[in-house]
């Protein structure tokens, strides 16, 4: 495990990479996304685990994204994702629509290194016609039982934010097991954390149960309040006012540029939230 600073971590992500990120209700790497904008990484193929939010919309607006694969892109209570919606209407974004359990299953298949996995439902949804990579077969274990097969999805990178890492690169994610699945599925995993602790997370039985082994983690950077404006369970709440401000500004190209100037490229000293960024 390498402990690097946030800008270095963003610089380690090559243009065109397929990058899986979780949404805010999990542990969205918002500070990392802003650092990617600053690093001007282009052509990203974003994977929502299983949906996408602010970080994805920001990267789309900043022109960093070629493709999104997700079950939904929205700002939740703050409404539709403005840059995403604009890009879809403009036809400038390749969108691979999915459904939440399919996103989970495709990543789980990659984590198990099996080439495909079946899933119930979906038959009769127009999603199928637009996912030539999803097949329908007859269940070999039954008669007249059509079922969807999904291919494994192994992202080049998984990136998420977590409360803490230890010196071995073990990362505590609590009950957010989908982050473990992401890390197992992805070829390489980067993590931003609130803090690095000196004790061994795997040595404490209570903490170990919510820990991802450092075996899966390639690099860690400290990013205090790294999910902001999202919240982090047990640490700080959502910043609903900021998300509303983002939603309002991002409604226009000019507003979005103003947002970038104010909150991404310039990092105001008066926002202690992101001192480390």
């Amino acid at each position: 495990m390498r402990l690097v600073d946030l800008e270095t971590l963003a610089g380690m992500l090559p243009a065109g990479a397929m990058l899986a990120i979780p949404p805010d209700n999990s542990a969205t790497p918002s500070s990392f996304a802003r650092a990617l904008v600053r690093a001007d990484v282009r052509g990203l193929r974003l994977v929502g685990v299983p949906v996408s939010d602010y970080a994805t919309d920001l990267l789309i607006g900043a022109g960093c994204v070629a493709e999104v694969q997700s079950s939904a892109v929205s700002l939740d209570e703050a409404g539709p994702a403005p840059c995403f919606t604009r890009a879809i209407k403009a036809g400038t974004l390749r969108m691979k629509d999915a459904t939440c359990p399919a996103m989970h299953s495709m990543l789980e298949a990659a984590a198990k290194a099996i080439p495909f996995i079946p899933i119930r439902g979906i038959l009769g949804s127009d999603l199928l016609a637009h996912r030539p990579d999803w097949l329908v077969i007859d269940n070999p274990f039954a008669k007249d039982d059509p079922i969807v097969l999904l291919p494994a999805l192994a992202p080049d990178f998984a990136v998420f934010h977590a409360v803490m890492a230890d010196r071995e690169g073990n990362v505590w994610v609590g009950r957010h097991r989908e982050l473990a699945v992401m890390a197992h599925a992805a070829r390489r995993t980067f993590v931003t954390v609130e803090r690095v602790i000196d004790r061994d997370l795997l040595a404490d039985a209570h903490l170990a149960a919510g820990t991802i082994s450092g075996a899966y983690i390639e690099a860690v950077a400290i990013a205090e309040r790294g999910t902001w404006p999202g919240g982090l369970t047990g640490e700080y709440p959502d910043d609903a006012a900021h998300l509303a401000e983002y939603a309002a500004l991002a409604r226009t190209e000019e507003g979005f540029r103003a947002y970038l100037a104010r909150y991404v490229h310039k990092r105001p000293a008066k926002r202690p939230a992101e001192a480390a960024e």
Binding site: S71, R120, S125
Partner: protein
């Protein structure tokens, strides 16, 4: 109809479910479920994507596994468009994937609509824009041909103006109740799809005193920890949050 009335109307539809699950950004279904829990007692509520009151310890995928196992009796779904055959569209309008109007995306609908025995479709806006003859794109189908594994269908469609019941055999809604201030004619005028009207078309009852007391007491307290903005707006006087 007041939001409290809507919540109470939905709560009455929930029994005999024993385990209801609720997706993201669904304060009214969540409040209805808490009310049904207070009324009926033995109701398990699983809230997806909530920091508080989240029973899932196997990640955000666990809800879908639970649904697939048949352990969830009732789910709530919305739709950018809902048509008279129960199809829902969360994708968009115009050329795929929504070049004219883009909705957020299908979330879990394409799966969970077919996995749970009962779904309550809920959409506050009741207009010809939302309730259409045929959705532009199908996120999740209202019915499925024989041989396709499916546990259930829409049970009801609740809007800000009325309540419909759904017949999967006929792939068709029946208007069963109009909210106060609405009429059979006003609903017909606001609905883009064709439907039947129940013989005993009723007016959706206002909440009872008991329901109101529960809403403003324990339900408000539960909601305050999960949907603070919503709870503060509806019940500014409510007691502090109780632990979920």
């Amino acid at each position: 109809m007041t939001e409290e009335g809507l919540i109470a109307a939905i709560a009455r539809l929930i029994p005999p479910a024993r385990h209801v699950a609720i997706g993201a950004a669904s304060p009214i279904p969540a409040a209805a479920s808490f009310l049904a829990q207070e009324m009926a007692g033995n109701l398990r509520i699983s809230l997806l994507y909530q920091r508080e009151g989240n029973p899932f310890t196997d990640g955000t995928g666990e809800l879908f596994d639970l649904a697939a196992q048949g352990r969830i009796d009732l789910f709530f779904l919305g739709g950018g468009e809902i048509d008279g055959a129960g199809n829902i569209n969360l994708i968009g309008i115009g050329e795929w994937p929504g070049r004219t109007v883009r909705f957020p995306g299908s979330f879990g609908s394409a799966f969970i609509y077919m996995m749970v025995p009962r779904t309550i479709l809920f959409r506050l806006e009741h207009s010809k824009r939302v309730l259409v003859p045929r959705v532009a794109h199908i996120s999740a189908p209202g019915t499925s041909p024989p041989g396709v594994f499916r546990r259930g269908h829409a049970d009801a469609l609740v809007t800000g103006r009325a309540i419909f019941r759904f017949s999967p055999e006929r792939a068709r809604f029946t208007l069963v109740s109009v909210h106060p201030g609405e009429s059979e004619a006003s609903i017909r005028a606001a609905t883009g799809f064709d439907y039947d009207v129940a013989d005993g078309l009723a007016e959706t009852p206002e909440p009872t005193e008991e329901e109101l007391a529960l809403l403003r007491g324990p339900v408000a307290a539960s909601m305050a920890s999960i949907y603070p903005a919503f709870a503060a707006r509806l019940w500014p006087e409510a007691p502090a949050r109780r632990s979920a």
